[in-house]
């Protein structure tokens, strides 16, 4: 699965304002509403579900990256977005490092395979330090979009 299969381009944010875990999640979910990927009426329920998932264990997977996510019956296909915090946010990560790079995923409850393949793509691309560094220093959403397209077109994605 490629980034272009699940990332809502219009919801990409290169400068998140929030400095808390919930703040970032809310800002990203709102960006999905603004992009038309999720309904405004589902915003609260989705934020709540993502926070509930975080309570079970942080999705801060190290290297300054977090993948907040949830299943939610309101979506019929996997939707996601990317955001960057230049200051970094405490996400109670596995390695204790503040998180700068966020991939938020909302998936239909009956599609665990899609969710796994999105995680697989994100993890595999993020093992590339250069890719991470460029994402973290992106000046605007277009920079991020181009980086994702470049990662997709390298042809390593399955």
């Amino acid at each position: 699965m490629k980034f272009s299969d699940f990332v809502a381009t219009d919801a990409i944010r290169s400068h998140v304002d929030a400095h808390t875990k919930e703040g970032v999640i809310r800002e990203m979910a709102q960006s999905l509403v603004d992009a038309g990927s999720i309904a405004a009426g589902d915003l609260e329920s989705i934020v709540k579900a993502i926070m509930k998932r975080e309570d079970l264990g942080s999705t801060g997977i190290g290297r300054g990256v977090a993948v907040p996510h949830t299943k939610h019956p309101s979506v019929s296909r996997l939707v996601g977005t990317v955001a960057v915090s230049h200051d970094g946010v405490d996400f109670e990560s596995l390695d204790g490092e503040p998180v700068q790079l966020f991939f938020l995923l909302v998936s239909p409850p009956d599609r665990p395979g899609d969710h796994l393949r999105a995680l697989e793509n994100i993890s595999r691309q993020l093992r590339d330090e250069t890719f991470c560094r460029h994402l973290k220093s992106a000046k605007g959403p277009m920079d991020i979009q181009h980086l994702l397209e470049e990662a997709d077109s390298h042809g390593v994605a399955s």
Binding site: G57, T59, I61, P112, L116, I122, L126
Partner: protein, 98 residues
């Protein structure tokens, strides 16, 4: 202390597959041991101490993997990792609301 290499097959029993939370648990457990811990799928060999590596397996429910431990505490490490799979990472306790 001698260098031991031990391995065993495990099966991903969780309906959601080896997703972020079990991958996190696995990496945390693997890091407790001195031995190198690797996971082998049909096409990949990854570092069990790296959550990013583990997630690249995209192991769905029913996937068979081989866990290989190499080092002075390999046997104990393998037992600990194997038991995570045997217990399905205690997934049933968490399922609600995930």
């Amino acid at each position: 202390m001698s260098e031991q290499v031990v391995s065993r097959e495990v099966v991903v029993g969780m309906p959601q597959g080896l997703h972020a939370r079990p991958a996190d648990q696995l990496a945390r457990e693997a890091r407790k041991w001195q031995s190198r811990i690797e996971l082998l799928s049909d096409s990949q060999r990854v570092d069990g101490k790296s959550i990013l590596d583990v997630l690249t397996l995209a192991a769905e429910a029913g996937t068979r993997l081989v866990v290989e431990a190499t080092g002075p505490d390999a046997r104990e490490a393998l037992e600990a990792i194997g038991s995570l799979f045997d217990r399905n990472f205690n997934e049933q306790e968490w399922n609600e609301g995930q």
